[in-house]
């Protein structure tokens, strides 16, 4: 059979070159994104280094959840290296302050199919109204205490706010989530929760392994009783250059004195917690 092919008759045209190049490029893509990626098929919680603000990625199996989106349209750009270029299937906004939702609005605009959980109260800013517009499109829901979400191997329980939470301080009703991995490790995500709100829910909590320091380490969010109750061994501060003085030195000292390891996103970049094998 092979003898019948006359190789001298085969002409290599520029189309052949392009097809060959495209095949090579696709092969490179598959190897690079799936085979050589350290995050492929891993259960992750990533505290993104977005400057002063919050953006947290939770990924397990095929489920990807993005909690808040940082202060800029591009804040969430770096999530895709952890998700094999897949977009989140669930978005949550903890509250409507600009340093939490600016990136979320941009991410939502570029997504097609997703679940969106929005805060119960909105302020009048441009980005907050844009988020509300997305909510008006019909994909909506607000999370309240005791609601439970499942993201692959993670079980997420809503600790705060209560269904009747109302306050002029938008931080007061911001979402607090307890994330527990199937193998037992747990993370407390406190958003910008102030100490007056912490007083109301801390007694529901038990020991956790990691805590996201509330409100970029603001002194008004330091509530020692919460820390004594959850006694974390590691704390993450999501902070960047700012004029508010975040994180407050008193807060950093308090965590250090308690023997808690503190990781700051402005110092170490993205903080990646990998769970399971």
């Amino acid at each position: 059979m092979l003898n019948k092919i006359d190789f001298s008759q085969i002409k290599i045209t520029s189309y052949h070159y392009y097809i060959f190049i495209m095949v090579l490029l696709c092969l490179y893509y598959v190897l690079r994104v799936y085979y050589f990626s350290p995050y492929y098929n891993k259960d992750l919680i990533v505290f993104l280094s977005v400057g002063t603000g919050d953006s947290i990625l939770i990924k397990s199996k095929n489920d990807i959840l993005l909690l808040d989106g940082g202060p800029s349209s591009f804040s969430t750009n770096s999530i895709y290296k952890y998700t094999e270029n897949r977009k989140p299937s669930t978005y949550i906004s903890s509250h409507t302050h600009s340093d939490h939702i600016s990136g979320l609005v941009h991410a939502l605009e570029s997504s097609t199919f997703y679940d969106l959980f929005i805060p119960m109260v909105f302020n009048g800013t441009f980005e907050s109204q844009k988020l509300k517009y997305t909510y008006n499109k019909g994909i909506k829901s607000s999370l309240v205490a005791n609601d439970v979400l499942h993201v692959g191997n993670f079980n997420i329980k809503v600790i705060w706010p209560n269904s009747n939470c109302v306050s002029e301080d938008y931080n007061y009703c911001s979402l607090v989530l307890l994330v527990r991995h199937i193998l037992g490790q747990s993370v407390l995500l406190t958003s910008d929760s102030p100490n007056k709100a912490q007083k109301l829910y801390y007694h529901q909590l038990n020991d956790v392994d990691y805590i996201k320091v509330p409100h970029q380490g603001s002194v008004y969010s330091l509530f020692p009783d919460l820390l004594k109750t959850v006694s974390p061994s590691n704390a993450i501060i999501s902070v960047g250059e700012n004029t508010y003085g975040h994180p407050h030195q008193k807060v950093v000292d308090y965590y250090n004195n308690q023997g808690i390891n503190v990781y700051r996103t402005d110092e170490v970049g993205d903080v990646v917690l990998m769970f399971g094998k």
Binding site: C26, R32, S73, N77, T83, K87, Q129, Y133
Partner: protein, 418 residues
């Protein structure tokens, strides 16, 4: 009385002399606008999508960058409409060079070219939905010249690697578009091809905004295309000089624009040296066996960099050395990305998105390679060096450069077949 026949070259020189005289007069009588001004008011057309950076809302246009802490946004029909591409807005605030720190932004009316901006908006949104970041930003930058919605550190990385010109709109995009147009309409006569191409490229230039490099490439393309389609001999250098003079007559302030200075230097370098360098380099065996695409990119890159580097050193005090190697290595990917990207956006737009997971890899793969190669080169130590140039150094450099060009012209004889 017999007619005196004026030689063509004299005609060219007289046109150039007239243009130069008008240009000099225009520059002499031009009053430069203030660089800093409180309570500055102007009307602008929104040509790029609004984005948020550190909680500040940014409107980027060819003339100004408008930064504001809040923008109007309406949810119901009772208040005025939301801002979108193609709207003319009145901006009031403080001017600082080309950035306006706006206190108030008010919608005035739709611009006459709103339908074009609508198409741009739809295409950008489709690209954003199709791809993840930073790939969608890279593709949008290459295709529509939109300001990339990426972090400053990623932008720095592109600058360090010397490839930022690829994702901000430049003459390169226009030249690729001209080439693609010529390929698509190759069956038609040269004049039909020229006029069809012209309409599309002018439409494209309006949509991306008349940045100096776009204006330069567009006018050069128009003049060169006109010359070719009417059988006139074209000398690119004359076309280039006429283009510059026309642009400066229209807007003398561009003389002080870095973007304009860069495009002038890069184009001049390519026009003066590309041909001779091709002949020179083809004497080397390794170069002979190199594919033409890479060969052309390498020579263009070297020619442009030779003329651009001192300007970059003068303004930024840093020069990317890796850019010399990186540009020829990856520039061949750009037409491929632009072509496949555009086809896939249209493909997605007409509702074939259920096939997308299988097809989108065709665009993600070259973008990933571009991103990876750029990241690798940008992180090479000593890839970017600090060089400081004064005005005096600039004059000496360009004087030596022109002496070098003369030597090259004297030593290297012949015309490259390409």
């Amino acid at each position: 009385m017999s007619m005196i026949k004026i030689p063509n070259i004299l005609k060219v020189y007289s046109v150039l002399i007239i243009l130069v005289s008008i240009c000099v007069l225009r520059i002499l009588f031009y009053k430069t606008p203030p660089a800093k001004q409180k309570d500055f008011t102007t009307n602008i057309v929104i040509t790029n999508p609004i984005y948020i950076k550190d909680s500040q809302k940014v409107i980027d246009t060819a003339a100004y960058k408008v930064v504001s802490y809040d923008l109007p946004y309406c949810l119901n029909k009772s208040c005025s409409k939301n801002l979108e591409l193609g709207d003319i807005v009145k901006v009031e605030g403080d001017l600082y060079y080309t950035t306006i720190y706006a206190n108030k932004i008010t919608y005035l009316k739709d611009s006459a070219l709103k339908p074009l901006y609508r198409i741009k908006d739809i295409l950008i949104k489709t690209s954003n939905q199709m791809l993840t970041e930073p790939y969608s930003s890279l593709l949008n930058g290459m295709l529509f010249g939109t300001e990339p919605v990426v972090s400053d550190s990623y932008k720095d990385l592109l600058i360090r690697a010397g490839v930022i010109h690829v994702i901000v709109v430049s003459g390169y995009n226009i030249s690729i578009l001209f080439t693609i147009m010529a390929g698509l309409f190759s069956r038609y006569s040269i004049r039909v091809k020229y006029f069809l191409g012209l309409i599309l490229v002018i439409g494209y230039s309006i949509v991306v905004g008349f940045e100096p490099p776009v204006l330069r490439a567009l006018i050069m393309g128009i003049l060169a295309g006109y010359g070719t389609s009417y059988g006139r001999v074209r000398n690119p250098l004359y076309i280039f000089i006429s283009t510059l003079l026309l642009i400066l007559i229209y807007s003398p302030s561009l003389l002080y624009s870095l973007s304009f200075q860069l495009t002038v230097c890069a184009t001049l370098g390519i026009l003066l040296l590309h041909n001779k360098f091709s002949i020179l380099f083809n004497k080397f065996l390794y170069f002979k066996i190199m594919p033409n695409v890479l060969k052309n990119d390498l020579i263009s890159s070297i020619c442009a960099q030779l003329f651009v580097i001192p300007l970059i050193a003068y303004y930024f005090k840093k020069v990317s050395l890796v850019g010399f190697i990186l540009n020829p290595l990856i520039l061949w990917l750009i037409p491929l990305i632009m072509f496949i990207g555009f086809i896939l956006i249209v493909y997605y737009l007409i509702g074939l998105n259920y096939l997308l997971p299988f097809t989108v890899i065709l665009i993600k793969a070259p973008l990933l390679l571009f991103n990876d190669v750029v990241t690798f080169f940008a992180t090479i130590p000593f890839g970017q060096v600090e060089i400081t140039f004064s005005i005096k150094d600039l004059i000496v450099y360009y004087f030596l450069a022109f002496v070098f060009v003369l030597i090259v012209y004297k030593k290297v004889k012949g015309v490259n077949a390409q």
